[in-house]
Symmetry: C2
Subunit: 584 residues, 2 copies
């Protein structure tokens, strides 16, 4: 079989204006970026507002394994499958960070015959949204350090008299807005800025302090972009983002620094979702890509809203397993959008479930154990509890669930059929095999039929997991016990204090966003399958006041990956025609 | 008069496809970015190659003053003026950094009725080239720090055995590739990276070392983009860029790190110039924006080349005074492009020349002294020596020179006429008043006529200032004495040693790029007018091996500006329609 980039390059693409026209979008509704990408202006929602919404299909997965279940492949594939059934279907997915592209994982445009194309455009700059976020985010940092410097250098009173501004009295030890870069850059995790260098005399390089870089997709601006519904709302949210605390412990926001307007100006084009096409000419909207731990891991509300007005079916993907992205879709994104899913799809694979048996030692980069690839009924039976847990988890939200078994070349009919039967026994509304990686839309038609049937026979009766107007401790406890199966929750002293502080500051009614490992339903990546009876630790509690959620750190959460000793960038080059090679 | 952004917003723009069509560019030659910007594919040079070149007009200026002479205004204006005379004229200008846009200076799209529009697109992301450079540059930094970490952590031998790569043995004290960000960010000038932070035990955050950030336009990649002539050439140049030295003192290049291919891939779209339009519908190519001190301060060779094949006249701008950008155009850019100017334009103003009288105290941000705005023959006569010097300087390169006096509202006829006469007496081929800020192309017609006449009556007899095959010391001495008027040159011990080292490494035949203040013809910003007899200090000598020049540091050169206490970003916001306000 050809490589992803070979398949992408040999595809015959439609002009993006044709893809837009199929959706009913006219010249003034889009802004082309080259011939195969376009921004869809969110203004076009005005003329679409009276149309009914299509069905919203949320693609989630079992607890992910180091080799991935194929969730993006199946999001793209299912869209193509629905199109083959004669439905107008649109995918809504996240824009990938360039960090993993040059690090280890490679591209994120799907794979095989279920890709968004051209895949190199998708994986590199796309239409510049992540760059805009990096730039807006770091302008706030430069503004903050500059203000700190001028106020400390002149003294608060002199500063106020000369500048006519109110001194913000920033506490340099409580700056919470780290800088960002869209690379895996380990050396920038912890740094010291504002050092005098070789200059003699007064330090003209700012105020020395400890600082760090996160990867851009961890920026609160990314979460804001994903949750906003208009440029005015985005402006307000950016203004509310907390950058630091002052010497009295009060929040210092982007509004206080008078930088929120300029940040919004930098992001004025980023607010429009990007339209591309899949390998079969269907539409795909790409917009925002927030982390699925410290943020909510879903593409944007605006892209969903546009797509729902233009399509019969909108297929969107939520990050990691259903305990992560799907939970956050239901409890955070749906709260701000007012739109809940009609059906959920759980992607799984035989090898993925076998890995949950506890019989194998899994490490990224390590070749797969044969026992996961070959028929192995014992491993499958021991690991299938993970699927059962996720089916039950989806049903907790009142959604019908379709299980899509992502087929790999060595999978046997026997094991596949056994799994489909199990899925139905566990309460799945439907279950089917997906062969979309090899066969595109045709390989996804079985899943597409099940999705369509689930929508028509079992209307969703959505319910969120916790009410918003209880205390933060209650919300966290509900999520940990009912949401993950913990027996008890252990709040650190620091966390308890932070919760009290945040509630006093008026953030108690926000939804909570759990920053835990995606590799287990619990907080502990070593607990595979469907763990129960564990004690769930809450280490730290912080607020993303602009995005509009409180996030809960449960253990070490990495917000800046590193590069391995033989990273992906070593394979990437250009050929004699100037085409990119080695991207996969 | 309306503000720049009001004029820009009220303009009736042509679709960019129409602007392209006027140039003979077809659908497949361009990649639209929205309806008013497009990338011109450099492949289109293939079909244009048999066309004759148009005339190349190089716009320079007297030694600049804190308020600016209006060089970009006159570059755009002159293009419009030539169009009014019935010529097909195209501007080629640099992309501005966002640092000054949010810092103090505001936009750089020209001004008044001589602007490139839409000005907010020009001043913010344009088509993402600077973002691409930031990203490619910082990927190299992440790669470097990661390699240093893995080699030091494992030990060279173990690293080689496990990875199959040759240890680079990077000297962490001789890393010359700083990181970049496109903001004025003082606190990042000197930092320490790779610190352990709160982690206990082994430091997993890299190797601690001193590091710093430059503003992106100071990146060698920006100079490479401006000097390259194909994607393959860009790939080779990036590979040659020196990132560090190893423990034996040998260069470690991007090629050695195996990251040059990925860096080129990130810049694959950046190599195509961006097409926009001026307020009268004429074409403007915007491409690259290297610093005019540590780099050569001119827009790209590729944009010039494209424009020369499409227009009768190509008007391009060189940074700062003729001792800076124009000198570097003639001695560096023309060396790599093979294309020399047909005529030079020197922009000056009455107030600018008065400021060279030495009678006034000039500071950025300080309101102008009345004595510079009102008639003041004494100041004018004392300062006009600066214009004389620049006229002579241009003639040194065998170019005819047209003086354009940029008119300000309070300027008197008497002073303006006196100045025009002086200019001709000093040997200018032509001289005229420019009123393009207020009247667009019409206000530039007089200058346009002079330019056209100079081209037809006085063909350029170009000569460079120094031969390339002499030693670096000779080249620097020629430039300082013949180029600036220094009596003597004082090489520091460090500089002499670096010159010896660079010549031994094979970089002796490269052109030299002087990194000196633009605020005086000499190295000392306080020496106004036309200083002579000074001793010129050479502090440090470094190489940009990929860009292809040796650069000479003469005093403190700032490669990372800071923000003032009331920076420009405070004025910028969006209005109720989502339009940007406060950008000027």
């Amino acid at each position: 079989m050809k490589s992803d980039i070979e398949i992408s390059r040999s595809a015959r693409l439609l002009p993006i204006t044709d893809v837009a026209a199929q959706l009913g979008l006219e010249h003034q509704d889009i802004e082309p970026y080259g011939h195969y990408k376009a921004k869809v202006r969110i203004d076009s929602l005005n003329k679409l507002q009276d149309r009914p919404d299509g069905k919203l299909v949320l693609v989630s997965a079992i607890t992910p394994t180091p080799f991935g279940e194929g969730k993006t492949v199946n999001t793209i594939g299912l869209t193509m499958g629905l199109s083959m059934l004669g439905r107008k279907a649109i995918s809504c997915i996240r824009q990938p960070s360039m960090g993993p592209v040059f690090g280890i994982k490679g591209g994120a445009a799907g794979g095989g015959y279920a890709q968004v194309v051209p895949m190199e455009d998708f994986n590199l700059h796309l239409t510049g949204d992540i760059h805009a976020i990096t730039s807006a985010h770091n302008l706030a940092s430069a503004a903050l350090d500059s203000r700190l410097y001028h106020e400390e250098r002149e003294g608060y009173e002199a500063f106020e008299q000369r500048s006519g501004l109110t001194a913000l009295k920033i506490d340099k030890n409580r700056i919470v807005w780290k800088r960002v870069v869209d690379h895996n850059d380990r050396a920038m995790r912890t740094i010291t800025v504002g050092q005098p260098g070789n200059t003699t005399g007064e330090n003209m390089n700012g105020v020395p302090r400890e600082e760090g870089f996160d990867i851009t997709v961890a920026s609160e601006l990314m979460a804001i972009l994903a949750l906003t519904d208009s440029i005015q709302d985005m402006r307000r949210r950016i203004g509310k983002a907390i950058l630091a605390y002052d010497l009295d412990g009060k929040p210092v926001t982007a509004e206080d620094l008078k930088v929120a307007g300029a940040m919004t100006a930098i992001m004025k084009d980023a607010i429009n979702p990007t339209l591309m096409q899949n390998l079969e000419g269907g539409a795909c909207l790409i917009h925002a890509g927030p982390f699925a731990n410290i943020a909510h891991g879903n593409s944007s509300i605006l892209a969903d809203r546009l797509a729902l007005k233009m399509g019969d079916y909108v297929v969107t993907e939520a990050g990691f397993g259903s305990d992560m992205g799907l939970e956050k879709f239901c409890n955070i994104k749906a709260h701000y959008s007012g739109k809940t899913p009609d059906v959920a799809v759980l992607v799984c694979s035989l090898r993925g479930l076998k890995s949950h048996s506890g019989l194998f030692d899994l490490k990224p980069g390590k070749p797969l154990d044969k026992g996961m690839i070959e028929p192995n009924q014992e491993a499958l039976e021991k690991g299938v509890c993970n699927l059962q847990w996720h089916i039950n988890n989806v049903k907790r939200y009142g959604l019908p669930v379709v299980v899509a078994v992502n087929r790999f070349p060595d999978d046997t009919k026997e094991e596949l059929n056994w799994l489909l039967e199990q899925a139905r026994e566990f309460g799945a509304t439907g279950a089917a095999i997906s062969d979309t990686f090899r066969f595109g839309g045709e390989g996804a038609m079985a899943v597409a039929s099940e999705v369509e049937q689930a929508c028509s026979t079992q209307p969703a009766q959505f319910q969120r997991l916790y009410p918003l107007d209880t205390g933060l401790q209650d919300k966290i406890t509900t999520l940990a016990t009912k949401g993950y199966g913990a027996a008890t929750v252990n709040f650190s002293e620091q966390a308890a204090q932070q919760i009290a502080e945040l509630e006093a500051q008026g953030y108690g009614n926000l939804p909570v966003c759990m920053a835990k490992t995606p590799l287990s339903i619990s907080h502990d990546p070593m607990l595979k399958g469907a763990p129960v009876g564990f004690d769930f630790p809450v280490r730290e509690v912080r607020v993303s006041a602009g995005a509009g959620f409180v996030y809960i750190l449960c253990g070490q959460i990495m917000t800046m990956p590193g590069l391995g000793s033989k990273p992906g960038y070593m394979n990437i080059d250009i050929d004699d025609n100037g085409h990119i090679t080695g991207l996969s």
